[in-house]
């Protein structure tokens, strides 16, 4: 009985195992099916509805400088993972969202439009404005003013040692970051007559000596103007920053998500526009790229609230450290880096950091300290580690570098001119430096993957594409392209190669015969050869979906 029973049980076990396997297979299949197709009918999406849920219950998160430095320097916040940015659409681009609005990267912008930036006013006149408060944050001296309509502005001055320095770079940075696609606040240069300032009865300031809020006094303004560069006409050049609409929520962080914002579902270190900000930071030497220089505002409409995220405070970009010329280390090394420090210590300073040897040209004080000859975009660093920057991959950098490449010499010159430097040498030098740095940025990051872009598959099977690196003059023509076509099963997310690999000398090819006759999706993987750019061998893959009269690009993968 027992043996019979055992024998029966074994047979039953085998059958049960088979049935269980079928059941598990079915379940896995259903889960796989539940995971959905690779491409949905509405792909690629160009707008991320991250205002879908009411976020009115969010609270202020305002990090201190010390906290931000310590956390990012000595811990490793967020996730370090070699994963494609999680907020890109299927064609590897960033949809519009509360973080980013595609501008120069996706459409033609005129020079005038780039220069205008977020401005709603052509210029500002401070006539009739009153001083409505002090400025308690940041190192740049300033105060607040309110215009006759009640709109609040922040007023900041330039350091006496470097007139026009901080205000100039704020204006330049704002225009560039806006054109790139970030949300920024509107800034203008203006002249102020110290004697004409009127302080509001309600104006208060957080006392710099004890931190307590108290009424703003005349001498608070004296303290500001003591640290200000004065014009030859006795007035002061100031930067006027328009307060963003909404309720201030402090800053965003370059890692994790806000736990209290239902719309914030992508860890910030995996957002493409935050990873790619490293490229823009390198170009513009925005070494102050850190959480505390960001701004979250709660906007409301129709009883609905959502967070809008801003890049904020460009006073310490290019050659400026806001209150003086930029320090030599900026952009070259974190504030705290173990290895060079220990080496310096044990060698009694005989070990020297490379940036100590950079020869900065003699330029007007309004420029500060920036150059392009020694600039190496791949080695550029902000003040301290940034989780999103650390997660930047070749595809993120490629995306950002393409945007940088869209800024023409004429645009750069016009944006620098907007800063209204009184010394033409400053305008000329900064323009030259920014063009040279742009070229280095594009050369560095457009060549780390196969730089094929804008593929078009015609109904007759003709494929044309462009080379972003060549178009940006970041590389010469290569030695040809290799293409492997495939048929794509969207539901199963599988590829079936069709035909042999093709080698073509130029940016055009043709789909293998028969490939386009059946199936809804096809694709092609492209690599390229270049003697000095081995990164071109890292494939770019393109997916096309059958449309009404031809094929539509529906997917892009880079560097796989």
């Amino acid at each position: 009985m027992a043996s019979t029973s055992i024998s029966f049980s074994a047979a039953s076990f085998k059958r049960s195992r088979t049935v269980a396997a079928v059941a598990v297979g079915l379940w896995i299949g259903s889960v796989a099916w539940s995971a959905g197709p690779r491409f949905y009918p509405d792909d690629p999406v160009w707008s991320d509805d991250d205002r879908a849920f009411d976020a009115s219950k969010v609270v202020v998160i305002e990090d201190t400088g010390g906290y931000d430095f310590v956390v990012n320097t000595f811990s490793d916040p967020g996730e370090r993972r070699d994963v494609r940015a999680l907020n890109v659409n299927t064609v590897d681009e960033v949809p519009d969202s509360s973080w980013f609005t595609n501008r120069i990267g996706r459409r033609q912008m005129s020079v005038a439009e780039v220069v205008k930036g977020p401005d709603t006013l052509d210029q500002v006149s401070l006539d009739g404005w009153i001083v409505s408060g002090g400025k308690s944050t940041g190192v740049q001296p300033g105060f607040r003013m309110t215009d006759p309509s009640g709109q609040v502005y922040q007023i900041e001055v330039d350091p006496p040692s470097n007139p026009e320095l901080a205000s100039g770079v704020e204006i330049i940075g704002t225009a560039f970051y806006h054109a790139i696609g970030y949300h920024v606040v509107e800034v203008h240069p203006a002249e102020i007559d110290r004697a004409a300032l009127v302080i509001s009865e309600q104006a208060t300031i957080r006392d710099p000596l004890n931190g307590r809020r108290r009424r703003l006094k005349k001498y608070d303004l004296d303290n500001v103007f003591e640290q200000a560069a004065r014009l030859s006409n006795g007035r002061y050049r100031v930067l006027v920053s328009r307060f963003a609409p909404g309720k201030p929520l402090g800053n965003f962080r370059y890692y994790r998500t806000r736990p209290d914002d239902p719309n914030d579902i992508v860890p910030h270190e995996h957002r493409r526009e935050l990873r790619g900000a490293r490229v823009f930071g390198a170009w513009l030497n925005h070494d102050d790229s850190r959480g505390i220089n960001s701004l979250d505002m709660l906007e409301t409409a129709d009883g609905w609230a959502w967070i809008k995220h801003y890049m904020f405070d460009f006073g310490s970009i290019l050659g400026s450290s806001t209150i003086a010329a930029q320090v030599h280390r900026a952009g070259n090394e974190y504030i705290f880096e173990q290895r060079p420090g220990w080496l310096t210590l044990i060698t009694f300073g005989l070990y020297t950091r490379p940036w100590m040897h950079i020869d900065y040209p003699d330029v007007p004080p309004s420029v500060g300290r920036i150059e392009s000859a020694a600039f190496d975009p791949l080695k550029w660093k902000p003040e301290y580690p940034n989780s999103a920057f650390d997660n930047m991959r070749a595809d993120d950098a490629f995306w950002a570098a393409r945007i940088v490449a869209r800024f023409t010499d004429e645009m750069i010159a016009a944006v620098v001119k907007k800063a209204q430097y009184s010394d033409p040498k400053a305008t000329e030098y900064l323009t030259k430096v920014l063009i040279a740095r742009r070229d280095k940025v594009t050369a560095a990051w457009l060549n780390h993957v196969c730089p094929v872009v804008d593929p078009v598959l015609a109904g007759d099977g003709a494929l044309t594409f462009a080379n972003a690196a060549v178009a940006a003059r970041a590389a010469t023509e290569g030695e040809g392209y290799q293409l492997q076509w495939f048929r794509f099963d969207n539901a199963a997310n599988t590829r079936t190669p069709v035909g042999d690999a093709q080698t073509v000398p130029a940016a055009a090819s043709r789909a293998p015969a028969g490939l386009l006759e059946s199936g809804e999706y096809v694709g092609v993987t492209v690599t390229a050869k270049h003697a000095t750019h081995p990164g071109w061998s890292r494939a770019s893959t393109f997916f096309f979906r059958r449309g009404g009269s031809g094929w539509t690009l529906v997917g892009v993968e880079r560097g796989s």
């Binding site: 029966f8 539940s34 792909d43 219950k57 609270v59 210590l345 020297t352 950079i358």
Partner: protein
Amino acid sequence: MSRRRVVPILTLSVLLCAASASFAQEPATRAEADRQQREEKNREVQPYKQSGFEKAMHFVEEKAIFIIGREGFYPKLGSLTTGSGFAYGVGFRDRDLLNNNGELDLWAATSIRQYWATEARLTFPKLANNHLLVETWAAHRDYPEEKFFGLGPDSARDDITSYAIRSDLFGARAGVRPFPLLLAGGGLEYLNPRLGEGQDSRVPSIEDLFDPTTAPGLGESVDYLRTMAFVELDYREPKNARKGGWYRVNFSHYDDRTTGLYTFNRVDTDLRQFVGFLAGRRVIAARLFISTSNTDDEHVMPFYGMPTLGGHDTLRGFREYRFRGPHAILVQGEYRWEIWSGFDAALFYDAGKVANTRSDLDFENLETDYGIGFRFNTNEAIVFRVDAGFGSRDGKHLYIVFGGVF
């Protein structure tokens, strides 16, 4: 039996499939898929809570820094004078007095070596559109164990003694700033130093080894009216200098208003030069300090009015006040190298001597030492340093100091 097992398993699998399908509510579009994720987060949304560390940093950066530098009552911490040891007390200050023109600072503090002092100081640093400085003060100092080894370069280390000195001071000075880097002016001060037995039980009191011939002024109580004139040029960049210089000459006439015997003149010249290289991350700092005095034939200079060498800011290989004389010369050199932003190291060399006559005030037979130091600093000042001095005939010395050297 097998059928009875197969049926439930298949049933279960169908249910699993149905459940998973129904759980996922399969989206038909990307927009729906994203919305599902947000719905899920919306169900789990939590209020943001600060971590303990975050709270601590907020407290430190928004509250604690105002405790040290705060207006009103504040903790007075640091040292009272060379050799006092760590001092602590309480102060009160108002730095925006009279429409932000004046600064008032009142404090009282005692140290771990029983030194104590109190001071009231009223300063108007930026009058006449920043061209005029006016300052007045009143203070009381009680230093119970100041060290004395005898006068002149040949004083013996074994002759260490201590003495107490107590003094009230009332003074005022004014300076004009014709241009921002230059300050020149003069002042007047009343002071009444009183000497007493040294309170350091480890060493003899001064009168056990010295008398008024070897320690002039010992046993006398005199009041002084000090008149002074000074000129100061400061073009350091930044104040914790990486380049530039700081030069000061100070002339003082000490008029003995009690006996007339101890009237003397003293001139202190302090020249500091800073040469930065390698982007200012390496600095050669040099200092020349010369103090000289003169008295008429019928006058004597008291020992406690003489310059001293030895200690954390002069000859660092020697103990505090190791050398004392009517004249002194000190040369200091430092090679400073930045390790990290805000943290420097320094190799230093000190040489100096005191002299009994001005003709001996030369660079012959200097006492020397060398050492290494580590400094936490800002652009404005050295906040905290540890210096170790070696190479002298006075042994090794370690100094832990809140503040800079020169």
